[in-house]
Amino acid sequence: MTSVRNKWLISSRSTTLLLLIITIFVIMSAIKGSLFYSSKNLSSIFSNLSYDMLLACGMTFVLILGGIDLSVGSVLAFTGIVVTTLLRNGESIAFAIGLGLLVSMLIGTTNGLLVSVFNIAPFIATLAMMSVFRGMSYVMTSGYFVVGLPEVYSSIARGSLLGISNKIIISVGIMAILSFLSIKHVSIRRMFYVGNNYNAAFLSGISARKTTILGYMICSILAGIAGILITSSFDMGQASFGVGYEMRAISAAVIGGASMSGGEGDFIGTALGVILVALVNNVFIMFNGSPNWSTAISGIMLIVAVALDILRSKRRPQGI
């Protein structure tokens, strides 16, 4: 009985990732000592973690559906600018955040419609949307920072509870809720069916289109939340926030067990993937000294992650 449950719930991938993370931690602490585990370094590792966590979590949904969403970085920036602009114009925080989330939801819905109804390849559709909303962000701000926000707003991300920063609590909390839902909630379970075999899902009475749209919608909303957190944390809106974040999100999700061919994905794995990517980045910087390498590392990790994914699926028994 329990064995079935385990297959339903826990992947062995997560255990491997956890061990890997711990190993890196131990080795680094041994080599670099306090330089590594100083609170300054640790907080630099985790500085981007909360945004990455949200984006990677959203990306996992889309990957499960067999799609991809390149627009998340732009959605993050755009939502942030919508919210901060509203705040600067004196709107209430609740209204600004509500409208920001609505905007991100609409972008996600558009992505989903382009992909599932108009049959545009996901990477083309979301690449175009990425360009549109990055441009919109610049148009709305003319390239300037949006500043002069109410103090309460910045306390959303900057505050802390029991010594843990709010943004970590929020993103990890959302991640945990979604990961719980993904196992147990029917509308998310359907995504696995759709990603695994779109036609079979349709013939099994699962509304493949609605499910796809829902996936892209959740992904964009999470990017929107990340946009709110990042603007709150920096106390300003900026059009260049989130450039290249989509790549880190894809890497982390794939490292965490999501398959590029759809039908598979594991939120705990994704969370561990995010930590691993951040950690490897940090290790590299510790030895090399230049944070400029971090983009290159994301690229290499993406290739490695996808290559491992392909090798894994080759080993899996296929066919009738």
């Binding site: 108009f118 390849a121 175009a128 549109v132 400029n292 983009t295 690229g299 993406l302 996808v306």
Partner: protein, 326 residues
């Protein structure tokens, strides 16, 4: 029957030419500066790198793939070229090295695609990201400049009033139109894009055809990088930001299908490129924020894809079962 199809393609060209003419006329009326030699010069030179890369991208997309690594290759080769010159290497030799390196990157793209059976989008995205990171790391974010006087005066030449990149583009455009219409290897690109299976059954070596298009695309991006150095007399990691979107959009506007390989033409791309160049210029002339360029590019890409897929998409919406029956 033949006439019908030819007309369909011609219709696409005609519509594009009509649009281009319209913008041209409107802009000339609206702004007295539009039709000045100076502005035409700016218009052409501002989109020349994209235009060069669009030639290679067209072949990649016709083969059924895509290459977004070009926005990483362009600055990477520019930096290598600049670094080599700064340590005293002859510019011609440095150019050659730059082109060879970019070709190697194209080979690498194709090998990853072939060996791992990955979608070219993922492969070239990873390459792009890696190169962008390398660019930043190599330069440390600073701009490379201060080349020798002889180099800068050589590159500033304008034979017959046209800059060197434009001459190179004209040569390349003629070459690519001719090759894509008459060269056997280039025709096989259309074949492979149209039907992998038919090509294989006809005994074509599919991978070597893919290899050719990815190498060409990468070399043209490298060339654009070298030319950027000659134009700006500097090299920076920030060259070529978002250039892949503009290039892909120009190709899509030119009538090359992003969803079905084997459909498209270099001629269409030439028109698509001209269209984009004029629209961007019109933005500047009308005083609209250049930031609208990105919005416009993304929007045009979606529109172009929707137009070319429109009929098919609507058909499928009413009849999902189509994909069920083989």
């Amino acid at each position: 029957m033949l006439r019908k199809i030819k007309n369909k393609m011609n219709l696409h060209y005609l519509v594009l030419i009509f649009c281009i003419t319209c913008i041209f006329v409107i802009m000339s009326i609206q702004s007295p500066f539009f039709l000045t030699w100076n502005n035409i010069d700016v218009l052409v030179n501002n989109f020349i790198m994209e235009a060069i890369m669009a030639l290679g991208m067209t072949m990649v997309i016709i083969s059924g793939g895509i290459d977004i690594s070009i926005s990483g290759i362009l600055p990477f080769i520019a930096i290598i070229f600049a670094k080599l010159m700064l340590i005293g290497v002859n510019p011609w030799l440095a150019s050659l090295i730059g082109l060879v390196v970019s070709g190697t990157i194209g080979l690498f793209n194709n090998s990853l695609r072939h060996v791992l059976r990955l979608h070219p989008m993922i492969v070239t995205m990873a390459t792009q990201l890696t190169l962008k990171g390398l660019n930043l790391a190599i330069t440390g974010g600073s701009v490379l400049s201060k080349f020798s006087r002889s180099f800068t005066s050589f590159t500033a030449q304008r034979p017959l009033g046209l800059s060197i990149p434009i001459w190179i583009y004209i040569l390349l455009a003629v070459l690519f139109v001719a090759l894509s219409k008459h060269n056997r290897r280039f025709i096989h690109v259309f074949f492979v894009g149209g039907s992998n299976e038919a090509s294989m059954l006809s005994g074509m070596k599919i991978n070597s055809i893919f290899r050719m298009v990815y190498v060409i695309s990468a070399i043209l991006a490298g060339l654009a990088g070298i030319l950027s150095v000659t134009v700006y007399n500097s090299a920076s990691y920030s060259f070529g930001q978002g250039v892949e979107m503009k290039v892909i959009t120009a190709v899509a506007i030119g009538g090359t299908s992003l969803t079905h390989g084997g459909e498209g033409s270099i001629t269409g791309t030439l028109l698509g490129t001209l269209f984009m160049a004029i629209v961007y210029n019109a933005f500047v002339m009308s005083g609209i924020s250049t930031y609208y360029q990105d919005v416009f590019t993304g929007g045009m890409l979606i529109v172009a894809v929707l137009l070319s897929e429109g009929a098919r998409a609507i058909n499928k919406r009413t009849n999902q079962a189509k994909s069920l029956i083989k």
